[in-house]
């Protein structure tokens, strides 16, 4: 009896938390997405009406939503490969030595991941500032005209993406470094004896043995970038002209600035479906790889 109960007792608390703070809100959002819920509905529940799929129809006709969707695709396309490759490169380099200098560097690369987003936004908006920014000052030293880092519609996308890449690598470097240190030295020794070069050892020993960590890093990074929010929120508030508005920021603005809770819920459901689909696809591809 006790043996049969034990697994449920261990899993129970986590399941309860997941159901309360994960599954239940999604169900509520799904329900709200079929209503015209707004501030008036919040005040008096009698103002809430079920309006079927109207929110979804409106959403797919809203040019702002499509702009946010394509912006998100852009950020994912730019951010995920950059973060994964950069994290891997830095982790490989940091793994070359265990000396005090390298340990200090490890901390250095981890700092962006644990710095508050408010501090990050302050520092970067000063770096990027058109009039007083350090970046434009450095450009002026080599005679290049000042750039509008956060105001020029196309450049702003890259500027915001760069901050997120810089911030996103820290944690992934530590994860990959831990995985690297778990690879037994024997493999490298054996490969060296067989005459493998440094590049061949990295390509045919390290990377395959890292594949699980790399998979984990790319799944979490992809989900993170699909939910991209912090950096555009603090640096540009989605501007200029909506060019850095991600889906999450779009949902936030509709829901919390304009109090269109029904409409925002529809948007968040769409984002949920996109993330679920992409993650399932990754899991499928991974399974096929293993086979």
């Amino acid at each position: 009896m006790n043996r049969r109960l034990a697994p449920y007792v261990f899993v129970g608390p986590a399941m309860l938390l997941l159901a309360t703070f994960g599954v239940f809100p999604i169900l509520v959002a799904a329900l709200v997405s079929f209503t015209n819920m707004n501030l008036g509905g919040l005040a008096r529940w009698s103002n809430i009406k079920f309006i079927g799929f109207q929110n979804y129809v409106k959403l797919f006709r809203d040019p702002d939503f499509w702009q946010a969707l394509w912006n998100t695709v852009f950020f994912v396309g730019l951010g995920v490969p950059c973060v994964v490759l950069l994290s891997l490169a830095v982790a490989l380099l940091l793994n070359r030595s265990q000396g005090p200098f390298f340990r200090a560097l490890r901390a250095f690369y981890f700092v962006p991941a644990i710095t508050g987003i408010v501090a990050i936004s302050l520092v970067w908006s000063y770096l990027y500032n058109t009039q007083f920014g350090l970046l434009n000052y450095l450009l002026s030293l080599v005679g290049i005209a000042p750039l509008q880092w956060l105001s020029e519609p196309t450049l702003a996308k890259f500027s915001v993406g760069l901050v997120a890449v810089w911030r996103g690598t820290g944690l992934n470097i530590i994860i990959l470094l831990a995985a690297l240190q778990g690879i037994p030295r024997d493999y490298y020794e054996a490969a060296s004896l067989d005459g493998a070069s440094a590049w061949q050892r990295t390509r045919f020993v390290t990377v395959p043995l890292l594949s699980y960590a790399l998979f984990f890093v790319s799944v979490t990074t992809l989900i993170g970038w699909l939910q991209f929010f912090d950096e555009p929120f603090v640096l540009t508030d989605g501007g200029p002209l909506g060019r850095t508005t991600s889906i999450s920021l779009f949902i936030y603005k509709e829901g919390f600035r304009q109090s269109q809770f029904g409409y925002a819920s529809a948007g968040s459901l769409v984002l949920f479906v996109i993330i679920a689909a992409v993650t399932l696809l990754q899991l499928r591809l991974r399974r096929r790889d293993l086979e």
């Binding site: 005040a43 008096r44 009039q131 007083f132 105001s151 519609p153 501007g239 200029p240 109090s259």
Partner: protein, 405 residues
């Protein structure tokens, strides 16, 4: 023993009930920003006089939306709330404010004719109902650098927008990185003010938002023209205070807060800059009437006490006391006309401008809706070279169902 004690106690209770003072319900007031301590000071005489206890809660401007949502959802709000004029419609639509039409008659101090025309009664009614009482005012005036204008051969600030445009062009020719004027890319009232100055409005006779009048087209000409001339900076992170102090943008339209910022950051510029009422368009020099009103929360249990407090706040003496305490301009006509307002040359200009100022149309959600779309359309033309006709057609389509009704 028991009997001897209870008699005085009962007598005391009876006195309290009869006099009615100590039993008045306390009034909770939400005051925007960080001036709650000064507000306590302001209402201290009211508390002693009426016996009504006033509790002030400071609400940061940034968190007003969240605060409104949670208090509407829970039904637990204050009794009196300060509302920025741009948020008035949102508050009223949420059902958070008590309609005051039938109540104002009982409180002579709240009579509509006491307040500046731009903000009194119908001017800030939402869907035909008065839901608030004017409290403090704010407006936009022209800031200009006397020294820089004189060096460029201009002895006076521009009297018309056309003059401003040509002056700005000349001033921007002072050198690389120099401009004549500054248009904040987040300033949605500015194009509306330009429309008003040409005798038009962005709301038609039926109360629907309408961007077709020629007065608006003229405003777009001015807005895009200033950009096309190279007279205004195009970077969105341009700092207006620093831009004005350094002289990069020697003219701009802003509110009294900028005057305080300049005086604080660059006291050495004193005397080298000044303000004037807005330049005129083809019709007038109408400016924006901004500021805050006071509303009564819909389910307050201290309705009479709340309205008494509003009556106290609407006294000319209280309004002048608040101006002295906190620097916010009055909304009561007789307070605006008080000699104390003429002592400061800047305040004199603000008061003159307030006589010709209008509030933004009371459409639902100005910032996220009509105002946001307006900025998006104009900025897409000037920043990305979008086709003007197409951008304005998109603007009309996006705001087609916006109305003040």
């Amino acid at each position: 023993m028991w009997r001897t004690n209870i008699v005085p106690a009962l007598a005391g209770l009876a006195t309290m009930l009869l006099s009615g003072t100590a039993l008045s319900a306390p009034v909770t007031v939400w005051i925007m920003g960080d001036s709650s301590a000064k507000f306590d000071e302001l209402v201290a005489p009211f508390e002693t006089e009426s016996g009504i206890d006033v509790e002030t809660v400071a609400i940061p401007w940034d968190s007003i939306d969240e605060k409104l949502t949670t208090s509407v959802a829970s039904g637990q709000g204050p009794d009196v709330v300060q509302i920025g004029l741009s948020k008035l419609r949102t508050f009223a639509d949420a059902g958070a404010l008590l309609p005051l039409d039938d109540l104002i008659g009982t409180y002579p101090g709240l009579a509509t004719e006491n307040f500046a025309d731009g903000v009194a009664g119908a001017a800030t009614a939402v869907a035909g109902q008065i839901v608030s009482v004017p409290w403090v005012s704010d407006t936009r005036v022209l800031f200009y650098r006397k020294d820089i204008l004189e060096a460029a051969g201009f002895s006076a600030p521009p009297a018309t927008w056309d003059e401003l445009r040509s002056m700005a062009k000349k001033l921007s020719e002072r050198g690389e990185g120099q401009y004549g004027y500054y248009i904040p890319q987040w300033d949605s009232p500015l194009p509306v003010v330009m429309t008003w100055s040409n005798g038009g409005d962005i709301v038609n006779a039926d109360g629907n938002v309408d961007f077709s009048p020629p007065a608006f087209a003229a405003a777009v000409d001015l807005y895009t023209g200033l950009h096309a001339d190279g007279s205004v900076p195009q970077n969105g992170d341009f700092d207006q205070t620093q831009g004005f102090i350094s002289g990069i943008a020697p003219m701009l339209v802003s509110g009294p807060y900028l005057a305080n910022a300049i005086a604080g950051a660059a006291p050495e510029l004193d005397g080298k800059w000044s303000i004037a009422t807005l330049p005129k368009g083809s019709a007038s020099g109408t400016s924006l009437f901004a500021g805050s009103n006071m509303g009564v929360w819909f389910n307050t249990d201290a309705q009479d006490e709340s309205l008494k407090l509003l009556e106290f706040l609407s006294k000319p003496d209280t309004q002048i006391a608040w101006f002295k305490l906190n620097g916010e301009l009055p909304t009561v006509k007789s307070a605006l006309a008080d000699p104390v307002m003429a002592e400061d040359p800047l305040v004199k200009v603000y008061a003159a401008q307030l006589a010709d100022a209008k509030v933004l149309p009371m459409v639902p959600n100005w910032d996220g809706g009509v105002g946001g779309e307006l900025l998006k359309a104009l900025n897409s033309i000037v920043l990305t070279g979008a086709d003007r006709a197409e951008a304005l057609a998109n603007l009309s389509a996006a705001t087609a169902d916006a109305s003040i009704n």
